[in-house]
């Protein structure tokens, strides 16, 4: 028997997964052939760094989407936490990092609490908080960019504890490893999937569905915060909208990874495929020096194709 993941992989989907990987490999090879600088150490490092940040944020998004909810505040939370680190680092040094991450957790928990107790659809809750938090970023930064002036903070992303591997990659790999375990092998992971399938199943075995929902949103906020902090450390400065690309890129990465946007199908393990896909595609086109407008057009089209290949459209009863 095929060694299948216990949670959420469909037998008949294995071949589709295979196609994705083949297409993926072909794309990488052709980038390498067309642009000799693609396979340079500098470029691979760049890909590693930018996928690290997106991967961390996308992991949080996966749990939320598995439940059938959505978090549109990831970009705003990341921007805020990145800016907060830049703001606090001169005074607090490394302590600014856990504080900023914790603020992300609080934002996420607020999303979850409002969603659960005021019974507002998560797409609207997070649309609202995203706007508010974006305003708050302007507030703490006066609308200007700030440089991250503390060497230890910058080192967190750019330094290399292990040879050749930037610290940001280690951090994201660690988080990914834990997240895969949590997704497949804990009650929380199982219940997010059960809730996305139908809340009654979870409620009928005595699970507090509301608690799981709030936890998932808090996790998403925390990881958006971590991603924002790493992004600021990696760039060496924080700008007011630096995280905003993450809101849609996380959703794309999750869906390209094969998790159903309606919830109840998928897992966090696969999200890394979507993340690498997005990052490598945009990096490759940059190296080929395609005109930026054309890049955007290609990116959109390719994402549509990837979603087409990776989602089980027959299983979605009502496509909305």
């Amino acid at each position: 028997m095929l060694e299948a993941s216990v949670v959420g992989r469909r037998d008949s989907e294995l071949w589709r997964r295979a196609i994705t990987i083949v297409v993926f490999t072909i794309a990488i090879i052709s980038f390498g052939v067309a642009a000799p600088s693609f396979f340079t150490i500098a470029n691979i490092r760049a890909i590693e760094l930018s996928s690290s940040v997106l991967l961390i944020a996308s992991i949080g998004a996966t749990f939320v989407i598995l439940m059938g909810s959505i978090d549109l505040s990831i970009g705003a939370v990341a921007s805020f936490c990145g800016m907060l680190v830049a703001r606090l680092a001169p005074d607090l040094g490394l302590w600014s990092v856990p504080i900023a991450c914790l603020v992300g957790l609080v934002f996420g928990a607020i999303n979850g609490l409002v969603y659960v107790y005021l019974r507002i659809p998560s797409i609207l809750v997070t649309l609202g908080t995203a706007t508010t938090i974006s305003g708050a970023v302007l507030f703490i930064s006066d609308g200007r960019s700030l440089s991250v002036s503390h060497a230890a903070v910058i080192d967190m992303a750019q330094g290399a504890l292990a040879i050749m591997v930037p610290n940001a990659v280690l951090v994201s790999a660690g988080i990914y490893g834990v997240a895969v375990l949590v997704g497949d092998r804990t009650r929380f992971g199982r219940m997010t999937l059960a809730i996305g399938s139908d809340e009654q199943v979870a409620a009928l075995i005595g699970v507090k569905v509301n608690t799981i929902k709030i936890q998932a949103f808090a996790l998403s906020g925390l990881l958006a915060g971590v991603a924002g902090v790493l992004l600021a450390a990696r760039l060496g400065s924080a700008t007011v909208t630096m995280g905003s690309y993450m809101t849609l890129d996380t959703i794309t990465a999750v869906v390209v990874g094969g998790t159903a946007i309606t919830g109840g199908l998928g897992n966090v393990r696969l999200t890394i495929i979507g993340v690498l896909f997005i990052t490598i595609l945009s990096d490759g086109m940059n190296i080929l020096a395609l005109p930026p407008y054309l890049q955007t057009i290609i990116q959109g089209t390719v994402i549509l194709l990837a979603v087409l290949l990776n989602t089980n459209r027959a299983s979605a009863e009502d496509v909305k």
Partner: protein, 513 residues
């Protein structure tokens, strides 16, 4: 019955198969002018399918239909409407955010358009107003949002729409099909609806399906009784009574081997596992009973009699009737957090809606089975151990004979019966003391049904108390040690059903209606 003695609609030898399975076969059905015809039968007898054949929604695989003296072979609902047949759907077909008149003329707007395509709203409103007035529905404003009206008013709007459509298609005497029109409305609205139907019969014929036999008796001139997809009786006028209908609807030979009745335990003096006292609330009045260890207690009754509400109260599946006490092992279950408390006291619940309440389709068999007992398969670290989980799953796959490719197969790809076994396994893994099942064999094939009965017998032999709520009469009689019959929220009848002296379906049915 008044009018000409020739039917305006006839069906001869109507048959319908889905995926090779025969749902109805050899149906003969007539509708006369100004007549109210009923189609009665148990769940799955083929009533709705027949109605949908008349409405052009299902095309019969065999047989012929005639309407107004001409051959009638609709391929869609629209064609049926144009020929003079409309259906009032159980789940309403009106769009709540549109005005009433917009709903009435939905898809017919083009008939009110002028040369450049602008629709004459005033004309549409005027026609709607005239019809609503004719039907005695003056209080409905055609310009208001449809969603502002209560469910029963929207039902009347659908009936009005049927008349408007008939006039529009130049039909003098439409046939209006009603699919469980009273399922979602209260007594007062039912009265209004029935009065209206009696009034409108001067201008139309009706075909009615309802789950309350008394409504057939009250309203219908003639009734066809269906059983297992066949026409088994036709009653008219004086012959119609609840008893005569129900006797014709039920009455199958019961096979005591099938229900393993020899394995039924004798339970003198067995300790009490669950004690229900004075359970009351919505749909349920003053229900009390005791459930003993090793006993299978069956609860029967017509749909809507409150038996599901009793199951929900026992396991704390919200919403449940709140008054009264449920004692498990001598201690009352709390009102708040009852679901969790019930589970902690060793209760398991196999819900009615398997696909939405029982399994997670895109999870593996093994993950579904361990869902309610994750601590049992977890390591000290708190993470689930896959090997323990697989062992657990393999144990119950063997024990319940779940047919699947292995513990890692997704539940989605299992048959209904095997999915149900997974739901049962989920609770067996927790070592339940009390098992509550709501229609556990609904939508399950014959072979798997018997295997599920075997599991229930095993459980009883292990001393588990089983509460079996079911719509299936042979199952109720065959499986139960004792049988409770409920009617309109109250316990109507309680009898012992020892293996050598089972009550008959008729004995039970007379207490149901």
């Amino acid at each position: 019955m008044s009018g000409v003695p020739t039917p305006i609609y006839t069906m001869r030898n109507g048959s319908k198969r889905f995926n090779g399975i025969c749902v109805v076969e050899g149906i003969d059905l007539d509708v006369f002018p100004n007549e109210i015809v009923g189609i009665a039968g148990e769940n799955g007898a083929g009533k709705s399918t027949t109605l949908k054949m008349i409405a052009g929604i299902h095309t019969p695989n065999a047989g012929s239909m005639r309407l107004f003296g001409k051959s009638f072979t609709p391929t869609s609902y629209t064609e049926a409407v144009e020929a003079g047949i409309s259906m009032v759907f159980q789940e309403q077909a009106l769009i709540p955010s549109l005005a009433v008149y917009e709903n009435i003329f939905l898809s017919l707007e083009a008939n009110f358009a002028n040369r450049i395509g602008i629709v004459d709203r005033r004309a549409m409103i005027a026609v709607s107003e005239r019809h609503l007035k004719d039907l005695g529905l003056d209080y409905i404003d055609p310009c208001r949002r449809t969603g502002d009206y209560a469910f029963h008013d929207r039902q009347m709007i659908e009936i009005a729409k049927a008349f408007v459509l008939a006039e529009h298609c130049h039909i003098d005497h439409p046939i209006i099909l009603l699919d469980e029109p009273t399922a979602a409305i209260g007594e007062r609205q039912i009265k209004i609806l029935f009065e209206s139907i009696r009034r409108y019969r001067r201008r139309a014929s009706f075909v009615l399906i309802t789950h309350r036999l008394v409504e057939y008796v009250e309203l219908c001139d003639r009734i066809y009784v269906f059983k297992d997809g066949r026409n088994v009786g036709e009653f008219a006028g004086e012959q119609i009574s609840e008893q005569s209908l129900h006797r014709a609807m039920v009455g199958r030979a019961r096979d005591d081997e099938y229900f393993m009745e020899k394995r039924q335990l004798k339970l003198e003096g067995a300790p009490i596992a669950v004690s229900v006292k004075g359970l009351s609330g919505h749909n349920v009045q003053n229900v009390s009973f005791e459930l003993r260890k090793g006993e299978i207690l069956g609860i029967g009754g017509l749909v809507g009699c409150g038996k599901e509400a009793v199951a929900k109260a026992v396991v704390g599946f919200e919403p449940f009737p709140p008054n009264g006490t449920i004692e498990v092992g001598g201690e009352a279950l709390p009102l708040r957090g009852r679901g969790k408390a019930a589970m902690l006291r060793g209760m398991g619940f196999v819900p009615k809606e398997r696909k939405t309440e029982g399994i997670v389709p895109y999870m593996s068999v093994q993950a579904n089975m361990s869902l309610a007992s994750l601590p049992l398969v977890s390591r000290l670290s708190g993470f689930i151990s896959r090997s323990r989980e697989r062992l657990l799953a393999e144990k119950y796959i063997n024990r319940l004979r779940v047919r699947c490719k292995g513990p890692a197969q997704l539940c989605q790809f299992l048959s209904g019966g095997n999915q149900q076994k997974v739901v049962i396994a989920k609770w067996l893994a927790r070592k339940v003391q009390v098992m509550v099942l709501d229609n556990p064999t609904r939508g399950v094939d014959v072979g798997a049904k018997q295997e599920i009965y075997g599991v229930l017998r095993d459980l009883a032999e292990e001393g588990v108390a089983v509460l079996l709520v079911t719509d299936d009469l042979p199952e109720l009689i065959g499986m139960s040690n004792r049988i409770l019959v409920m009617r309109e929220g109250e316990i109507q009848f309680l009898c012992n059903a020892p293996a050598d002296n089972k009550p008959t379906e008729q004995e039970l049915v007379q207490h149901m209606v």
